[in-house]
Amino acid sequence: MRRLALLLLVLGVGASQTVTAQSSLYAVVGLGFPGRPIGVRARGMGGSIGAVDPGSAVNPAMVSQLTRLSATVSSLTSLRSYEIDTLSVDGLQDTRFPYAALAGGITGTPVSFEATYTSYLSRTWDVVTSDTVILRGEPVAVDDRIRSDGAVADLRAAVGWFISSKLQLGAGFHILTGSTRERIERDYADDDYTPLRHDSDVSYSGLGWSVGLTGQLLSWLRMGASFRSDGHLDAARDSVRIGRVDLPMTISGGFAAAPVPGLVIASTVMWQSWADAQDGLTSIGGEATTFNTWDVSAGLEVGGSVGPRVPIRLGFRYAQLPFSAEDDQVREIDLSLGTGFRFAQGRAAFNASVERVSRDGGGASEDAWQISIGLSLLP
């Protein structure tokens, strides 16, 4: 009971925060900025271990590896700057909680379960603009501010079946849910015009499913693959339905190899059919061009169980973003560094990563430092 209470406490801390993903300049475009269903360890490796990482929510078959009761939460702090044409902005900062999980095995069976929260789409932004509009034949200066705070979250319930060391299967059921509080403000330089302040709540809902398999094909090699279908996303503004948009299929695969003790090399490739979202996009996300996306990552981990007690993780990632303000698809390159350690007789673990993210395309560019911290408890 004490262990369970501790787990609930840890999860409760995470749930009490604003559970949205990091913001980005590109969150303004289309449906928002896609989240990554990976833990801090995987982030430190550029996401390369995602397809075969029990600490990530990419492949439901990896749930089969979670035979002990465990709980994980993570935070992500983003320090951003961006450029659009001659406009250069820096000093942007926000902290979010993009990943949480509760997992365990069912005693006496080869089945494990996991419930995860991950960010699916970030729709958090705060944009100010100044302009001059012609009203009643006269130019009037205006200052606008449009804010959105919230995200679409991916709540996954998954089970994994440990058939043998060479084959494990898994399946997940996904509930996509969330809301954004949107506020638009306008102030006129001319006092004859009254300022605008309007709040609205937009809620999102959708369902999805995923299946996956993985196996220890060789003593030093694990491979995994998964397929996911997310159906569609419904949106309602102040309880009035405003639109529906198709969500992508996701196909991913990857491996983790340990050719020598104390060294893990991993890679994951993911493809998503985000172009399916083009129809109906305008009703929710406005005008944007959608693209299918590739996400390719590679990384390594040195140390840990063998060698240095504190492992060093390195990663590289190339990804495409699904929404662009122009016909030019946005690209992202990440370089990551991570580490972690266990304590409390191995019952708890801290993980951390630092990512240098460069995004470019769609007439803009963005750079960010992303610092992640994760806490896992295995009571």
Partner: protein
């Protein structure tokens, strides 16, 4: 050695965690946007539209405030289209002072408060003696014979430097020769000089700035007489004026005395009233004739909302202690004699209709202060199609047009 490495790592981890917690308390998302590419889809579109025919019903009503209940009484020169004479009846003066019989009256002093006046040099208020029985039923025709030289008992000069303040004049002891027979009731009326552009506003009892009449007398004390004085305030004040020409049902009258109000019923599309934020709304009124009133005077026209539209007795949503008027929202100064189209702000009336669906879509036009003068505006009503009232609305749809 390994233990030492781990200890250092834990210290670093703890420091990092604390740093993250502190840093996480700060959030700075606000950034300038570059539109339209990197602005949110929900852009702020503003529209300007003139809604002709949006006033679907209107009517004018009178009798709200009578001249004797107004906070001002206006004196306008003889012969003007709105000639008027303030009149005052004082409370009875005492027939003795401190139980000492009055032997003789030496003089009187009349003091009045003048809040506003014409920008004319050499203004003079001429004081006339009136019959003691004046009241709210007294008419211009009844009292016009008393505004002549034979009844003149004093003159109050209004200094050219006077913007607003108390002025007064001494009156002779025989200014009210029938004072005792009249029960010691003194009454006065005012004319104003010189010229056709002369006018002045006198404060009344309703504004707590009523006139004061002081009596200076000699009273019997023993076998001698000594000086003594006493004063009285106005018991009744009003003004009498020439009748104004009436107007027909195609006209919306506002102001005058007794005061007129006009109520306009509005029908705007639901996409404006219910689904948009109104940045500015103005009511456009076309005068059917030049603004009536004393030459050079200005009238304060107000547009306000109604709590409920029950016809002529509809209660008005009171301006918040004049704050709205100070901000020029819903109020407009009309220059007497002008015939230009009147554009008055009604944003404060129309904007709340989206949130307060119970509020009637009606606008009342009235003058403030009511019945303080004969000044009156007359506008074409909705029954006069060519010059009917209309609304100009600047609005922002709150839902993108691609949303249902």
């Amino acid at each position: 050695m390994r233990v030492g490495t781990l200890t250092v790592a834990r210290v670093l981890w703890t420091a990092s965690l604390l740093t993250m917690l502190v840093a996480g308390c700060r959030e700075d998302l606000t950034a300038p946007g570059t539109c339209p590419e990197y602005c949110p889809a929900k852009l702020i579109d503003v529209f300007d539209s003139l809604f002709v025919g949006s006033i679907v019903a209107d009517s004018a009503w009178t009798g709200y405030v009578a001249p004797d209940k107004a906070i001002l009484a206006q004196a306008v020169t003889d012969g003007a289209a709105v000639e008027s004479h303030p009149i005052i009846r004082f409370f009875p003066l005492p027939d003795s002072l401190n139980l000492r019989p009055i032997a003789s009256i030496d003089s009187f002093r009349l003091d009045i408060l003048v809040p506003a006046r014409a920008a004319v040099s050499g203004l003079e208020l001429v004081v006339h003696r009136l019959p003691a029985d004046i009241d709210s039923t007294s008419t211009y025709a009844d009292l016009e014979p008393f505004f002549e030289d034979s009844t003149q008992i004093g003159v109050i000069p209004l200094p050219d430097t006077l913007v607003g303040g108390v002025v007064g004049t001494p009156l002779p002891g025989d200014a009210f020769p029938t004072l005792a027979e009249d029960g010691w009731v003194a009454t006065v009326g005012f004319s104003i000089l010189p010229g056709p552009e002369a006018w002045a506003d006198l404060a009344t009892m309703e504004s707590l700035g009523q006139a004061v009449l002081t009596m200076y007398a000699r009273v019997v004390q023993g076998e001698d007489t000594v000086e003594a004085s006493d004063f009285q305030q106005a018991a009744f004040d009003s003004y009498v004026s020439v009748d104004q020409a009436s107007f027909d049902r195609d006209i919306l009258g506002v102001g005058g005395a007794p005061s007129w109000r006009s109520i306009l019923r509005v029908d705007l599309p639901s996409y404006v009233v219910d689904s948009s934020d109104i940045s500015r709304a103005t009511l456009i009124l076309v005068p059917s004739e030049p603004i009536l009133g004393a030459a050079g005077d200005t009238l304060r026209l107000r547009a306000d909302a109604l709590i409920d539209d029950v016809g002529p007795k509809s209660p008005i949503v009171a301006p918040a202690l004049g704050i709205q008027d100070t901000l020029s929202v819903g109020g407009l100064d009309l220059l007497v004699g002008a015939s230009d189209t009147v554009v008055i702000d009604v944003t404060h009336i129309v904007k709340p209709w989206r949130a307060d669906t119970a509020r009637p879509h009606s606008i009342v036009l009235w003058m403030v202060p009511e019945a303080a003068s004969l000044g009156q505006a007359r506008f074409w009503s909705s029954r006069h199609a060519a010059s009917a009232p209309s609304l100009a609305i600047t609005y922002i749809p709150l839902f993108p047009r691609n949303e249902p």
